[in-house]
Amino acid sequence: MLKDKKFTLITGRTIKQGMASVSGKKNKNYKNETAYVQLSSSIMEEYDIHEGEKVILKSDSGSAEVECRSADLSEKIVFMAYGPTANKLIGTDTGGTGMPNSKSKIVIIEKKEGSNH
């Protein structure tokens, strides 16, 4: 099942991402803390996604497999802790400013093949 809704991907700090990043970048914990996406619960419902389920996020610059968590968010945005997974989606266009679109990338959500909710 595939929906074509578009979301703005917001990347940002979380306290756990911060704690993990100073506890060893190569530890599993850092990877885990930067490889999930937060969605509004209504979007989770609409897409029939369960807490902890893995989905694919896609932008015009790349895609990433991430775990879903529900959060108090507007339906227009999805949130990811800043890190290597989110950076697969961001793309390198800086529009002449040096700054990539780290909080304004448009993404879509695809359910993982074979997931059967």
Binding site: T8, I10, G12, R13, T14, I15, G18, M19, S21, V22, S23, G24, K25, K26, N27, T34, S61, G62, A71, D72, L73, S74, K76, I77, F79, Y82, G83, P84, N87, K88, I90, G91, T92, T94, G95, G96, T97, G98, M99, P100, N101, S102, K103, S104
Partner: protein
């Protein structure tokens, strides 16, 4: 029996708030107790001595001096190298990195370009009204957090400098009104008196509308809303801004990374400037890395420019978008890279960081990270503020001196850079 030593007023280098009230107890070159540190800082200290890098050449362990001399060779022999990072090292190391950039005709850029660099670009257009953190603590009656979430990124900020601090004229939380503008209800928003949810990417429109209202003009409306906020609410906000005696805005990546990028900050800076016609109003970037402010400061006194500097003509030139790391890497314009105290493989867009696999890359860092995986040369170093001393600049440009309190087997960043510089210079 080994002796327990106690150190007070140690500065934590994790974030731009640079809390300088950390207390540590040390025994047998190990940290035994930590006081006053936030959750992130505590982890940082506890992990400091683990996962330490060793000198490596092409994936094999080597002598420290071998790594240093290979680094010098790479920089010397390249046509257009990039030196990048700098935000988590000392001013002494930053200065020396600029010298190496000059000697090797390199591009030098800090993490500022993907962080608060846009705010600096905006400052170059309009200027900026700001203050040190203590000034805000002592005087500010209205505090605004815009696209900034210090509760998670600068955990002790509110206690030391803002909402919850004790100031000279403003004593506690009830002396201050707090408003948060963000695209999501962050933990910081939950501490505020009011939270306004901004439509993503519409900060510019919102700030421009506020400028109009503050100056007694009516913005043009389509549906009585701007950026998802009702015009009547906006009018109330504008009045509050005008009536503040000493207002303050802390802004984060929510302003610098979205929509109009540096023009967002331009709009905010213009608004704050205008507000000084009514009362006093100041603004402050919530600088992320411990010494990212220092990277702009040291680069500026040596080159005249804050970041995105090119030395191919043996004098400094400046242009974000041209000499910035993401552009240089993504456009495949550099033929070598020297990463100092930073982890672009984790923090830059994937395709930009991936190019580091293809060119000779040197990493100078005390810990293994995702970029050390890509490095031809790894140079270990001592830990800033733990096993190495030096200078760091807080988000409000207040300098602090770091004292070391543990022993290390590796020289610090500044020393490594001095050695590389000498090898290039005396060639």
């Amino acid at each position: 029996m080994s002796e327990v030593k106690k150190y007070e007023n140690i500065t934590c280098t994790f974030c731009g708030a640079l809390c300088d009230n950390i207390e540590v107890e040390v025994e047998s070159n190990q940290i035994k107790k930590i006081k006053n540190a936030c959750a992130i800082s505590r982890k940082k200290y506890m992990h400091a001595l683990q996962d330490r890098t060793i000198p490596m050449l092409n994936g094999k362990e080597c002598d420290y001096d071998e790594a240093i001399s290979r680094a010098a060779d790479i920089l010397k022999n390249s046509k257009n190298p990039l030196i990048y990072g700098l935000s988590s090292t000392t001013a002494e190391a930053q200065k020396t990195a600029v010298k190496i950039a000059e000697l090797s005709g390199a591009n030098i850029d800090s993490t500022s370009s993907v962080c608060h660099g846009p705010g600096t670009m905006a400052k170059q257009l309009v200027g900026m009204v700001t203050a040190t953190l203590g000034e805000i603590k002592n005087r500010s009656d209205l505090m605004i957090f815009w696209g900034a979430n210090p509760v998670e990124a600068h955990p002790n900020h509110s206690k030391r400098y803002t909402m919850l601090s004790e100031g000279l004229f403003k004593k506690n939380r009830s002396d201050r009104e707090v408003i948060v503008f963000d695209v999501r209800k962050t933990p910081t928003a939950k501490m505020a008196d009011q939270f306004f949810e901004v439509e993503p990417g519409k900060d510019f429109e919102l700030l421009m509308a506020l400028r109009m209202l503050v100056n007694g003009k009516e913005p043009e409306l389509n549906n009585n809303q701007i950026a998802g906020i009702d015009i009547e609410d906006l009018k109330v906000i504008a009045e509050k801004l005008k009536n503040a005696k000493y207002g303050s805005i802390f802004y984060g990546m929510g302003l610098t990374m979205t929509g109009a990028k540096y023009m967002n900050t331009w709009a905010a800076m213009s608004l704050i400037r205008d507000l000084n016609d009514f009362g006093r109003f100041v603004m402050m970037p919530m600088r992320g890395h411990g010494n990212v402010a220092g990277s702009e400061i040291t680069m500026a006194w040596q080159t005249g420019y804050p970041f995105a500097v090119n030395f191919s003509r043996a004098y400094p030139r400046y242009n974000p978008g041209e000499y910035t790391a993401v552009d240089l890497l993504a456009n495949r314009e550099v033929d070598a890279a020297f990463i100092i105290a930073s982890d672009p493989a984790a923090n830059l867009p994937h395709q930009a960081a991936a190019y580091l696999d293809e060119i000779p890359t040197i990493v100078l860092d005390p810990h293994w990270n995702l970029t050390t995986d890509k490095a031809e040369v790894v140079i270990p170093s001592a830990l800033k503020g733990i096993t190495a001393s030096g200078t760091v600049y807080r988000m409000d440009h207040v300098p602090l001196h770091l004292r070391s309190f543990l022993e290390d087997e590796w020289p610090d960043d500044a020393e490594a850079l001095v050695k590389i510089g000498e090898l290039i210079e005396n060639d």
